[in-house]
Symmetry: C3
Subunit: 645 residues, 3 copies
């Protein structure tokens, strides 16, 4: 199903019913409204103005549309900030930030919790049982603009309490953090400060705990909203719209409090910001990298425990990337189908109409600011028609699982050891190489059950907890661990017995040394699949296992014990590709290298094909297959769907 984001407050009232009529006519089902509207709903402290929103919801309802109502807490009004300046966040540099953008609040502020409780309760009371309101979105894009981590006094207080709960006694904290080092010993929890503005780098355990704390504060804040909404809106869903390539926040625990996850999909903006080779950046500047949306669909499907929406879908050039190209013709349709192929329940476009003023005036919509339909409008029309002719089976389990660890980016942010080490880049490499072999991937958090997967990819899992270890034990497919897996314990220590720590139960080996390399320094690795180049990271392994791949000096780069493998280097795409072909075949899969711009995705018996490249491709289908959309020759930016025989 399709939806749209709509801001009635930005448009004349006399326009609303016409807009609603046209949404319905276009075939949209859902309309998200209301997030960011606090100053409209409460123009003066305590004076509520519901009239306009009542009317807007009524108008939409009348047209047969369902409303997703956002809580307006991402934008506290000026009067609120003036009354309680303490809600403004303090950044890493120690500067209190000001009103004038959005997300200008600290997640730990008790006053802001109170104010949130007040406004969300009011909203829940008024609309929680409204028949046209399908559900709620809490706040908007938690953490955007670097707001997960605040360095104010309230955060310091809350962090001290959090530490006290976690460690019980300061001696335990001292042991856990290794404060014997550099005389960092604390006598009380009151002595612990936030880890910014230190002269030398802060203690890594301190930093990691602070990142954990900050992420949990967001969850706690969100749960406050969820509980109020559940109380006042029985039977309505509650979701939140997460962001792409954003790691300050662990989305999984937050996802547990929601009915499903949503995310905001801007393939071109993300591609402009990704650390891709220049030529790939240019190749995909107008389409987005072929795996960038897919990766997040698979990630947030996991966060939503199987259910997700695209709450905001890019409909044209955006306003916020360094470069904002126009999508290639057909891409809005392609992105929509890609989302649906990955199991999206709803794809909702951001926004109904480009707004001609304020910060986002250069962000395209389904309509131009002069009310005429824009290019995306017609692509959505086409999707609606096509959707009508196709019933989508429920998505099944993919053959490949990729374990995504939300703590890993924090661990490696604290101690990258090599300037180019980047967890997301490594994960994206594993994901993309698998996708280029035509393999569907489920992304799962550490500890998730791994039964039924033929192949489990663990690009890097620095902290291996009991639950994750058990899941690996109980997996029935091949499990490939990447470098630095098991390299830290819960407290950010190198494990006793050395890495991979608890994974030694599966892989009898020890990582006795590691190194990070400058970009130009490459080494060869060689094995049964050929000769490849590696760089950026290497490990020295002590083991009785005989290596499957060797570095030029003869030492091992890949080890195997039973169905578990350990890769002691950051692989090149070629090396990883050859390795995954072998492992997938061993797992009974049929990996087939696809043309660089082509991707496939199964949803039940339907196979979807997407051509992100500027060249026509011939699909790898047996003749006689039944096409439900398109055909065996796929033009650039085109979609095909067929039934698996």
């Amino acid at each position: 199903m399709l939806g749209v984001c709509y801001y009635p407050e930005h448009w004349p009232r006399e326009r609303w019913s016409e807009d609603a009529r046209r949404m319905r006519e276009l075939g949209l089902a859902y309309v998200r409204v209301g997030e960011f509207a606090w100053a409209l709903l409460e123009p003066e402290p305590g004076r509520l103005d519901w009239a306009w929103l009542d009317e807007a919801v009524a108008v939409l309802a009348q047209a047969g549309l369902k409303v997703v109502l956002g809580t307006p807490t991402a934008t506290p009004p000026k009067w609120l900030v003036d009354r309680y300046p303490e809600i403004l966040p303090v950044d890493r540099e120690g500067r209190r930030r000001r009103f004038g953008g959005r997300r200008h609040y600290c997640f730990s502020s008790p006053v802001y919790h109170e104010e949130t409780r007040r406004i969300v309760t009011l909203l829940g009371e008024r609309y929680g049982k409204h028949p046209a309101v399908a559900g709620f979105q809490t706040d908007n894009e938690y953490g955007c603009h670097g707001t997960v981590r605040c360095y104010c006094e309230r955060c310091q207080d809350a962090f001290r309490k959090w530490l006290e709960e976690r460690y019980g006694s300061i001696d335990v904290l001292n042991e856990a953090w290794g404060t014997v080092f550099w005389s960092q010993r604390y006598r009380t929890f009151q002595e612990v400060e936030l880890p910014n503005l230190t002269v030398a780098e802060a203690n890594p355990s301190h930093l990691l705990d602070y990142y954990r704390f900050a992420s949990e504060q967001v969850r706690r804040y969100n749960r406050l909203q969820v509980e109020i909404l559940r109380a006042h809106a029985p039977g309505k869903f509650v979701t939140h719209n997460f962001m792409g390539f954003f790691t300050d926040l662990n989305p999984f625990p937050l996802g547990e409090d929601l009915d499903f996850a949503s995310w905001d999909s801007y393939p071109l903006g993300f591609t402009d910001l990704m650390p891709l080779p220049e030529e790939e950046k240019l190749r995909y500047a107008r389409t987005g990298h072929p795996d960038v949306a897919a990766f997040h669909h698979d990630l947030y499907r996991a966060v939503g425990r199987g259910r997700f929406w695209v709450m905001e879908q890019q409909p044209g050039p955006v306003n916020w990337a360094p470069h904002n190209p126009n999508p290639a013709p057909g891409m809005v349709r392609l992105w929509t189908w890609e989302a649906l192929a990955h199991g999206a329940e709803v794809v909702s476009y951001f926004r109904w109409r480009q707004v001609p003023f304020a910060q986002e005036q250069m962000h395209a919509g389904l309509h131009r600011p002069d009310y005429a339909p824009d290019a995306a409008f017609f692509e959505v029309q086409r999707v609606v028609e096509e959707l009508g002719a196709l019933s989508l089976p429920p998505p099944g389990q993919a053959p490949v699982a990729l374990v995504y660890d939300p703590e890993a980016p924090w661990v490696y942010e604290v101690q990258p050891h090599g300037a180019e080490w980047n967890y997301l880049a490594l994960v994206f490499l594993f994901y993309s190489v698998a996708r280029r072999l035509g393999l569907d991937v489920d992304i799962v958090p550490p500890g998730a059950a791994l039964q039924g997967y033929r192949l489990v990819l663990v690009p890097s899992l620095p902290i291996v907890r009991e639950k994750a270890l058990n899941a690996f034990r109980e997996a029935d497919g091949i499990v490939l661990f990447g470098p630095r897996s098991g390299s830290k314990n819960e407290n950010f220590h190198i494990p006793q017995g050395l890495p991979p720590g608890p994974l030694q139960a599966l892989l009898p080996l020890k990582v006795v040394r590691v190194e990070s390399l400058p970009p130009g320094l490459r080494e060869e690795v060689e094995g049964p699949w050929g000769r490849f180049s590696s760089g950026l990271w290497r490990e020295w392994v002590e083991t009785d296992l005989s290596p499957l791949l060797r570095f030029a000096d003869g030492l091992g780069a890949l080890f195997r014990a039973g169905r578990y493998l350990y890769l002691a280097a950051w692989p090149s795409p070629e090396l990883l590709g050859a390795l995954l072909v072998g492992l997938a075949q061993e797992g009974g899969l049929s990996p087939k290298p696809l043309p660089s711009g082509l991707r496939l995705r199964w949803r039940g018996h339907l196979v979807f094909a997407f051509n992100y490249g500027p060249e026509e491709v011939v699909l790898p289908v047996p003749s006689g297959v039944r096409f439900r959309l398109g055909g065996p020759r796929l033009s650039p930016y085109e979609v095909a769907v067929w039934e698996e025989g």
Copy 2:
């Protein structure tokens, strides 16, 4: 006429008369003194010491020199700053800056206005009627070191008042800024803050108004000085020395309060800092880019309503650029002639002698610190001789006008949309391409009368006001508009009816979409003049007009209605060159592509030629032409002058 900047306070008194004698002997007419001398004039609060300046002026007068007296307000003394710390500016990061450099004051500070009134009145009283004092320079290089925009409490107060005057009621401001977006609604003017340190980007209308306000505060401050000087120095001129490539300040309104404009010309420093291709940077490292001084001569001639001086002319290596090469031999003479050819009334060298101490000790002068004449001295000697043999006719109107919009850099700084979009770069491209065709250019502000111009270039004019529109209507030449013209209204909204907004009265078209592209992404455009490459920016136009140039996808890149043209892309120099050749010819001009280092300039019947390149060039003159300087073969760094037949 020629002049020089001189700091008697830096040199022993016994040296002054010798210096004066030699200035006179060299043929200089004007000597600028006194700016930066506050602490010398008022060593203790209220204790004035005029003796040294009286004597210095007397000594210069005695030698027959005329004095330009600078007000010393760019450098408030330490005791003043200690007495009123509030005059120190606060930067964008919220840090109050300190004494120890220069320009350490806030333009909005009421106390500093009072102190300025006091010291300028004293100066005016003492020297306003002095026969040797020809005129005054207010302050020095307003805005240097990023000082136009201050973020202190006084500025916040003043900005609130400014907004109240501009909008009358807060509702009007809310509407103008679109504060319905992101709950930014204000209830009173007192709620509005300065737009720094916001968590997300600030509202663009807010930012633009703040930039306007900050620029106006400078004008207001300058006017305070001008009024005092006019009162005490009847008949004397008042000027200010503006800077190159500086856009925080709108110079046009300020110019209206002056008798003429001045500017400080440092071609090598500017060239080192300009965003030029690497090979051009190296080619012109010792000469300056051939259009960099010319551009500013033409700009500040407009600011001075036809009259301008070069108040500071680079005489050798400067001290402040990342790289400070020695000018190629002859360049100081060439730069002087270029200024005169563009109508400079006086070219004044900075400085008489290199000072061997303090911040600018590595800045060359006409003399070395050991009192010996430096290389530039001899080049000035030659200019003086040559000037004696040549009487310069008054400069006339150029055939081409270029509309330079001082607000445009602010608009694009607030919302560049593409990382490489840079207003000055686009303007400089239009200017340079015209100059390389041998066309003289008048730079004019939006709204200036355009009669008499064969060709009007408008590289980009985002906000088109009534007066500018009328000027375009009344222009009798061809008018070429560049991209993003008419893309915003006065309040930084996309115009109703879409861009180019009011220009639709001239050009029946709508820009319905725009995009910014990463550097490597190029598109071809094709038309009657050939096939070219474009990039960085593209627009989609809806119109019944048939395009003169088309993008590779067939859509139009250049449109024409009568004598108005609209270019929907950022052009390559080749594309723009071909286009200007065609338009200039149609306008009855004879554009001729010049060798890359050669430039021409008409002053009345005299034609000047300047060779900035390292190769000899043959001048495009008919045989038999009467040369007043040089001849038809122009060596590197040489100047020629002939009479137009």
Copy 3:
């Protein structure tokens, strides 16, 4: 002799005697302990806990090891910082920094001086006469993490007093700083502030004096510690461990207060951070640049007036560089021998065992965190064996002296004039070119006696004081001065009579102009040794001397008067190499260009050869020479020693 850094407090007590036994067994003589241990020694204000350290020292003593005891002042405990927050430093941005790393104190803090006196006295009283304690290390790596220069109120107070002592009267300061410029005149010392956060650049004399002051504050602070230790520990040595490539601190005066200097040698980390051409960086990524350790050995031998230790020797990958490669096999041994060849009395490895927690957990040691010996352990074993078979003669004077000016980096930091001008890079170029000719180099401070040297290299000496001038006068070898020598006087003025100022007594020439060039702008220089390229910096010289090298325009680039030469450009390595070959031969030396990775070093009659390159090299030795280690063919990363015939 060899040693190791050891932190008993990081390990279980039951491990200590085993560790001590193995140290002894390995052949180590010295163990450094105790720096960073304040919070362990004084867990609560005034409650001292000596027991653990008493025991640790006893255990080490019992094993026959000698202890180097560090004072723990680099890491004041949290309770101390909370009690006196004023000890925390304020950075250049005006931000007070926080507890949580190390070096979180201001060198000017009176309270911290008091606390330092207290803890060092206690330490001296307890261990000053302990028979196993060989000596003391004061603090740790003064200045690390940018801590030499603090911008707090106490520093401002102390700086004002320092200025008053230096100048006596404010008029003298005003004259010395040239405060007549930009109205910077001060009426009292109380008016002078620290030179940060100024609006334009601060006065260069002000900056230089502040850098001098800040460096002297460190010396003063260190002397406080030294005096206490001398009082309580008669006969024991006192040293401090300096850093590599660190110029904020002038090490020479501080060295005068010590018995000998020490330094911390991390060749791979330094090489990753050095501004080297990309291909050299990669070539030496696993070995360190061949001159990087040698340069510092020679520098700190001078600081220690002939005596130095390597207090911390890199034993494997470090944790703090952008990239942290594993040393090539054999490099720990090679680095040790290189240090010994340069006269190191002790080479002490950092650290005995890699610690599995806190900030430095990724820093390798002689042992892995699991207590097993790491690769370096076995290389040390080999060195111990080899050392047993070789008795090292005392190091003699080298044939070449290089004058290293610790003030020069400050002068050029204040006014680089060219973005790429870097004093250390120029010094390293001179040093490296000499070393590649097989020449041993003594590094000496300006003013040191130069008798006995055949060749004296002065890469750049901006301020030439009487003592240095006399030393040049009394030198009996050839003296080569590089660019900008003599370019400033004591007060950061251009000297009267122009550069090279006082050197004009030796070289009758004047530098009348200088320029800095962008990287791509190269000029040719030509002379009897060939034709070379130069760039980055050029000078114009006025003299009657006839140049030995000329720029393409015919002007001189190299001048000579008797045994003094002046180079008026930044030379390419090729130019400098050719020049040094000629000068060395003239001085009676036999320079021979070595293969790029090979270096030689004489210690008495022993010649050491080190192969840093990945290719085997054949040593330039006469046949029949007596090898004490290795032989005439030197494998990669190998060492050879032979007796000079």
